[in-house]
Symmetry: C2
Subunit: 587 residues, 2 copies
């Protein structure tokens, strides 16, 4: 089984044994263009502030390079592979023609023709308008997103395209998540997964926002959903039963050359021809096309799982797909994923989607906009030479050196509290225009004090999220950590102490790719459902970190101060004004 | 004329021409022991947090070394010198016997026997009790100090000695400012200046706090003022009329060997024998003793001016001793000195003292606890190697390099505002337990952004002080800058823009020493009063920096945010709690 994880800067392929989840081999391909933020590649065309693009070819290169390398590293014959699954950053979304051709292949000099990476934040004004109008009209889907949709998502980004480059918008027969686009490239037929549709595409209770609503935003936006998948209540398909799109898995290799079905698509009605239906997670999107077999070196015709999101597949990798198992994928940012058998309106959550993590349960998502990014920013910009030199002398990274100093302190000894909003706040305030706050510095404050404070601030942010879920009637039974920050045990212990609960940890450092392989195993029919596959192939250590009562008590007091700051600055009155002044001054 | 400035880390002697204030030569002596903060010198005796001591011998060494060097550097014969004036940090205060012997000479192993430097802050609990009781009793002197006296001052420090080392307290026949002690060493007779008595010794309307008040603080404190000078309303002496102490200038050289008058002192009543009266600024404290002539190489018998405070003498050096001329001495901290013809209760001022700057006017003092200290702290602890390397490549100090980056920005472009309370807040909140706040940071925030923000925050703090004076009915006619921060023109321009007024600047980089020489010229009878001497010998450039209207408007918005933060955090609710948690955690 091959799982492929498309991250922000690179793609990783992992070969996983179906019987037990053993990771046999892996390979990484760094994207040639990384994140495009300043100007289009090989061009004078400058991008505005908060833009972030990616070229589709970089993703294809992961299939061409990383997949065969992973198979080679695993020491198996390609013929032993029975399926491939993928996951992607989201909402990373692109305009395409009805045959799946990205518009940036046709008009590479137009910025809006390019895929917008999840962290493209230039559609904030559009998100604001969507939120305002939805609140005013009392749209029933709005509370499913904690009361606000994000500027990162499909509708905000598409509205930006419509209003800033109407020609590109008109030409876009498809507005498709990269998660689904890459599966289209693999299977040769279009499919759309229910996860991104629900979390990023405002698909709720079997439908998208109404044409009436969209027209009120902008008359030209009324038929936007014709560029998406269709889907009706009750049409969700159980995992393991194969694809539910119009073409189906028997579309065969000939459909796999970028033509696919639905070449007549675009502009048709909600139930019109050429629009695929949403596919359940764990379902098959079809079989590997001849072209994709050539790219990957894998056998043509093996199962291709429907697309998924990097965070959401990780729940399977951690065998944490039961109600109340909150998986925190902690890296540059943190994403919280939790299945539950209850539907509730949790303030500031990113979204709740039926079948959004596993079929049959509500899937909750929450997030912290920046976590590891905060520590990296501090280390890059605010740690003096004396520290970097001492770290080098001791053979430590600057992070490890600062941690070694910080962990010697008693809780509260630095006298500081920070708000972890340096990258805005996703949950529970859903406000990208918030910014960081640090209070309590004196002339005796040292770098390790601030570093520890920043770590703690993100733990307070996590506690705020957990408490908000529980207050809303959605119990959090277990806190499971995955992601790169696992490598810092001190940080993990801070989280255990601040959260006042044991932390479970994932048993793989390739969580998303492993999760994708688990989904592929289900799509290939090796397991009946995701739960069963995860139970065998997923890996989790319970209570890997246990809170210390005295430290937890001390943190309670500091968390109280964090909450006070949260209340005071959360309305954005001060921070929005500073942001506005900044934007005017920079203009 | 010789002026000697006793600073925090060194003493500086300057030879000044009486006719025009020309600075002919100068010399600096760095104190051998600097500031004693951890343990007594050559001893295992550890000091508590927030302690700061200094040995008297380091001060004597300035007389022995710097004065003759300055005379030599000036290229004049010592016989041409007709007077010597001094100024000192304040409140730097010591316990002594009735003959002026510092108690630390007798019992060097007892920390409380040593001089407490101005920045000894360990008497904060004692200051708090004094303030509480004074507020409760409605003591009329309290509003003269902005509603709160400082932990740095004579009564708080003495109460700490009484309660922590009663034997040292009992043995102290004198509790004397270093400003007066050094003049005692020069003239051989005790004198006490009205400036430190008023600003640091709670001498108001001709009297100290009552024995009744002091007894309520601690019964053993009731007769504390017997260790100070006496003084009655109307007994202030006009400048230029010589000393008004019991011994007088004719005490002669024999009195100059550490015996002086009043060897029978200590414990007598408020008007008892052995207690000197307060002397006006610019008055003579006597003549140079044989011993001090030997130390300094100056002629025995020349005029010695009464003691003064470094900040207060600077007003004369800047020729800014008329009503409404606010002199800001900007260095590690900032002190604001302003004569006025009006008495008002200005919230948070450090003090208002009749004749406290020049005889005949009310003298106001306000202050910012940390200014240059904040920039130094940031540069030392939070600027990465890449910056220090680039600064070195360009041949710039890190301060200059950061300034070169910061000055390119438009006002508000960094999106930040800070509260400049990293060393507590003196004016207008009088609260050493406040601490710093920075808001608005994002992952794009760079060191130069924070550096500029810190500079601006101190300018906002200065504006807060100026506005508070004016709202209280004390007009500020001119803002005159002296001190080390003058060397940063960008910083000066920020102040001009934030304050929305032209800045005048002092014409000397040795302001206090020049001011002391001006006072010595008056004491020697070369001028009739300080105003006349300052007009000829002092140096000031008017409107050296002029505000830019557009920048000033932009700063108005940011200052509004600063005021909001000031209001929110000024009550200390959050910051005091963090400080308390810190102190408990560090204990």
């Amino acid at each position: 089984m091959v799982g492929v994880d498309f991250g922000t800067l690179s793609g990783r392929a992992v070969v996983v044994r179906v019987a037990d989840g053993a990771e046999l081999g892996s390979a990484v391909h760094e994207y040639a263009h990384g994140v495009i933020e300043r100007a289009l590649p090989g061009s004078e065309v400058r991008l505005g502030p908060d833009w972030a693009l990616q070229p589709p070819q970089d993703w294809i290169d992961v299939l061409r390079l990383a997949v065969p390398q992973a198979v080679a590293a695993a020491g198996i014959a390609p013929e032993e592979v029975i399926g491939i699954g993928t996951d992607f950053t989201a909402c990373t979304v692109l305009p395409a023609t009805a045959d799946g051709t990205p518009l940036c292949f046709e008009t590479p000099s137009r910025p809006h023709a390019w895929p917008k990476l999840w962290k493209h934040h230039a559609a904030q004004p559009h998100a604001d308008r969507i939120n305002e109008l939805a609140a005013r009209r009392g749209e029933t889907w709005l509370p499913r997103y904690g009361g606000k949709i994000s500027s990162e998502w499909e509708f905000a980004k598409a509205l930006q395209v419509l209003e800033e480059d109407p020609e590109v918008y008109a030409r876009a027969e498809r507005w498709i998540e990269a998660a689904d686009w890459i599966v289209w490239q693999l299977a040769g037929v279009e499919s759309r997964n229910i996860c991104t549709a629900g979390y990023k595409g405002i698909f709720q209770d079997g439908t998208y926002p109404s044409a009436d609503f969209l027209a009120e935003l902008n008359p030209g936006f009324a038929d936007f959903t014709s560029k998406l998948a269709t889907g009706r209540v009750g049409e969700r398909v159980a995992a393991g039963t194969g694809a539910n799109h119009d073409a189906g898995p028997d579309a065969g290799p000939d459909a796999g050359h970028g033509a696919g079905h639905g070449a007549d698509g675009g502009g048709e009605g909600a139930e019109g021809p050429g629009r695929v239906r949403l596919a359940a997670l764990g379902a098959s999107a079809g079989t590997l096309s001849a072209r994709a077999a050539e790219w990957t070196g894998l056998p043509e015709g093996i199962a291709v799982a429907v697309g998924n999101v990097d965070a959401h597949v990780t729940a399977a990798a951690a065998d944490a797909v039961r109600p109340g198992q909150m998986v925190a994928i902690m890296g540059t940012s943190t994403c919280h994923i939790m299945p539950s058998d209850r539907l509730a309106e949790v303030p500031g959550m990113c979204g709740v989607v039926q079948d959004g993590i596993v079929p049959g349960l509500w899937g909750y998502e929450a997030g912290q906009s920046a976590v590891g990014d905060i520590f990296a920013w501090f280390v890059d910009s605010f740690v003096p030479a004396a520290y970097t030199e001492r770290a080098a002398e001791q053979g430590l990274s600057v992070h490890a050196y600062l941690t070694s100093l910080a962990e010697k302190q008693a809780v509260g000894e630095h006298g500081l509290v920070a708000l972890d909003w340096f990258g805005g706040n996703r949950s529970v305030l859903v406000d990208h225009n918030l910014s960081g706050v640090i209070i309590g510095q004196t002339l005796a404050t040292r770098p390790e004090d601030v570093y520890r404070t920043l770590i703690e601030s993100t733990a307070y942010g996590a506690r705020m999220i957990v408490e908000t879920f529980e207050k809303s009637g959605v119990p959090v039974e277990e806190f499971v950590v995955a992601g790169g920050l696992l490598k810092n045990p001190f940080l993990m212990q801070v989280y255990a102490d601040v959260l006042r609960r044991p932390l479970s940890v994932i048993g793989s450092d390739q969580g998303p790719a492993l999760g994708s392989a688990i989904h592929a195993a289900v799509a290939a029919g090796a397991y009946t459902d995701i739960e069963a596959a995860a139970a065998t192939m997923g890996k989790r250590t319970e209570a890997a970190y246990v809170p210390d009562a005295a430290r937890a008590d001390a943190y309670d007091r500091l968390y109280g101060e964090y909450r006070n700051l949260h209340d005071h600055f959360g309305d954005g009155k001060a921070l929005h004004k500073l942001r506005a002044i900044r934007n005017e001054a920079s203009a």
